[in-house]
Amino acid sequence: MVTTPRETPAGRGWGGAAAAEHRTEYPVRTEEDLLEARHAVRAATLETGFGLVDQTRVVTAASELVRNAYIHGGGGTLVIERLRRPGGRGVRLTVSDAGPGIANVDAALADGFSTGSGLGHGLGGARRLMHEFRIDCPPGGGTIVCVTRWTSG
């Protein structure tokens, strides 16, 4: 299945003051989507000017979050935003799904906690790999995880 990302040149950021200069949206419904999402995140980190270690951090965090949306959330979407703020650029990832949500976010963030067969390091690990981390489970269900990493220069 070929998926075409929706592009909006100046989409509105979710939960941040920085200006988004580019925004793309990807489905997270199949195993192939997980790979596609990773490649798109890698491309965004390259465009943003991240070094190799930071690229690896952001792509790894993305991989954990989209897999969570796929496995625990029954599928969802990934939004990639390239941001600019005074003194730096950044990449923001917003992964959302319409699954059951997370009953106890603090527990879910602890290393080793998994309600499935995973290692339980995805959520807490993604938080450590990124500069900003926010997780929302609205009352109606679903999970929205929003993470950002900034360039240092």
């Binding site: 195993e31 192939e32 997980l34 790979l35 990773r38 890698r42 190799l52 270690v53 690229q55 690896t56 951090r57 792509v59 790894t60 991989s63 954990e64 897999r67 290393d111 995973g118 290692l119 339980g120 390091h121 995805g122 807490g124 690990g125 450590r128 790999l129």
Partner: protein, 128 residues
């Protein structure tokens, strides 16, 4: 990835495009080959992996444990430095998984050494 055999050692690698299905198929095939060929060592070259997330880490751990139960020693070789840094920050230490800097060091640890003549013959062409 093909699984090659060098004496008692099976040599293979992992690619970035590992999904649930191919990970399971890979573990199945490797364990089958270990038993069928009575391998005592397995070298897994991961120098092409651009990331290791917790899914790949779990695959490597399970593979190592399963192989050990079948009598084979696994060495994971060639992890890229950014991948190692990220793995530590993820909090994954790959407990029980033996590693080597590169495939050559891994093969040496499994009892394989380049002879003088083969070294001269392959100078400048790094096995990877």
């Amino acid at each position: 990835m093909p699984i090659l055999r060098l004496g008692d050692v099976l040599v293979t690698g992992l690619l970035d495009e590992l999904d649930d299905r191919s990970a399971m198929a890979f573990v199945d095939e490797l364990t089958e080959r270990i038993t069928r060929e009575a391998a005592t060592g397995v070298l897994i070259d991961i120098s092409r992996l651009e990331i290791i997330d917790s899914f790949v880490a779990r695959t490597l751990s399970e593979l190592t444990t399963t192989a050990r139960l079948l009598g084979a020693r696994v060495i994971v070789a060639g992890m890229r430095p950014p991948v190692a840094i990220t793995l530590v920050e993820l909090g994954l230490k790959l407990h029980g998984v033996e590693t080597a800097l590169n495939a050559e060091a891994g093969m040496a640890a499994l009892g394989w050494y380049r002879t003088r003549s083969s070294r001269e013959g392959s100078r400048g062409d790094d096995a990877s």
